[in-house]
């Protein structure tokens, strides 16, 4: 991989961040209402993606237990609590040999 390729990767990544934030006009209230429903769905989708490999393999049991623990903590709506629950779930799973 060359420096030029790295710079092209940077341009693509920054361009994707820049595109909608700078070029789009301020959306109408109706579109804004629909867009406000997107973030949680994107994060749930990303969580699912990280549990299934491109080869269609599901993650190891400790990772699944960590995710389940974070999901159980989710109704409290605390990011730090979800992280702590996830790590605790992972460690518990490893300790009991799952």
């Amino acid at each position: 991989m060359s420096l030029l390729t790295v710079l092209a990767l940077a341009a693509i990544t920054y361009g994707s961040r820049l595109g909608a934030m700078v070029l789009l006009p301020k959306p109408s209230p109706r579109i804004e209402t629909v867009l406000a429903r997107v973030p949680a769905a994107i994060f749930a989708s990303l969580a699912t993606l990280s549990l299934i490999s491109p080869e269609r393999q599901v993650a190891d049991v400790p990772v699944l237990v960590a995710t389940l623990a974070a999901v159980i903590a989710a109704p409290r709506r605390s990011f730090a609590l979800c992280l702590a629950a996830g790590i605790a779930g992972y460690l518990l799973s490893v300790v009991v040999g799952l």
């Binding site: 991989m1 420096l3 390729t5 790295v6 990767l9 940077a10 693509i12 990544t13 920054y14 994707s16 961040r17 820049l18 595109g19 909608a20 934030m21 700078v22 789009l24 301020k26 959306p27 209230p29 109706r30 804004e32 209402t33 629909v34 867009l35 429903r37 997107v38 973030p39 949680a40 769905a41 994107i42 994060f43 749930a44 989708s45 990303l46 969580a47 699912t48 993606l49 990280s50 549990l51 299934i52 080869e55 269609r56 993650a59 400790p62 990772v63 623990a69 974070a70 999901v71 989710a74 109704p75 709506r77 605390s78 990011f79 979800c82 992280l83 996830g86 790590i87 992972y90 460690l91």
Partner: protein, 237 residues
Amino acid sequence: MPEAPPSVGRTLATALPAALAIAVFGVIFGASATAVIGPGLTLVMSLVVFSGATQFATLALVVAGAAAPALLATAAILNVRHLVMGAVLRPILGSSRLRRGLLAWFMLDETFGFTIVAADGRTAGPDREAVAERTLFVSGMLCYLAWVSGTLLGIAGAGVRGVEGVAAALFPVLFVGLAALTARTTSLAVRAAAAAGLTAVVCFAAPDWRALAPAVAGLLVALPGDPRPRPHPSDAA
């Protein structure tokens, strides 16, 4: 009475757990990329790309022998979700194109979530815009420093032996935490669950399209329902 805007310290405290996780990912990236592309390009990549998903995916492709066009195409597909996320952030940021352009640098999955939450419940206007812009900048700067510092530690030989497993678990856990933060109503939680289900279907039925799943599923589950804005609680007073 409207909630007081979050201070810089509170924003930093909120973003700190994510920044620590990003630093761990940075160490892993720095250590593994140095062996493949050398320390110089590894550092430059973290400095100018600043995207864990893009950098890890690119590295895997380089190891597999892929050429530059494949790397660039993969990056483009992976980053489609940024267009959707940018469109979500657009209404809550200020009118200055230059400022939005500079802030775009700091838009990661994590900082996007923190910004949405900081602006949540505030009446549209200059105050909400200031809170959103400050949150994006402060949390973005912290995450950038964490990513570059982690990469440097990885290049310098730091290892994460013993915590690789936890690091693997951190990816889904981080995203569940961000989903929890942003799913402030039952309706949003149901839509998030639907997006997770759609993504799982895509992963098994059409794995070649999986990178597009977050953007497509996110938009698809957002469409059903009344698009009329709900009145803000303060409007009723």
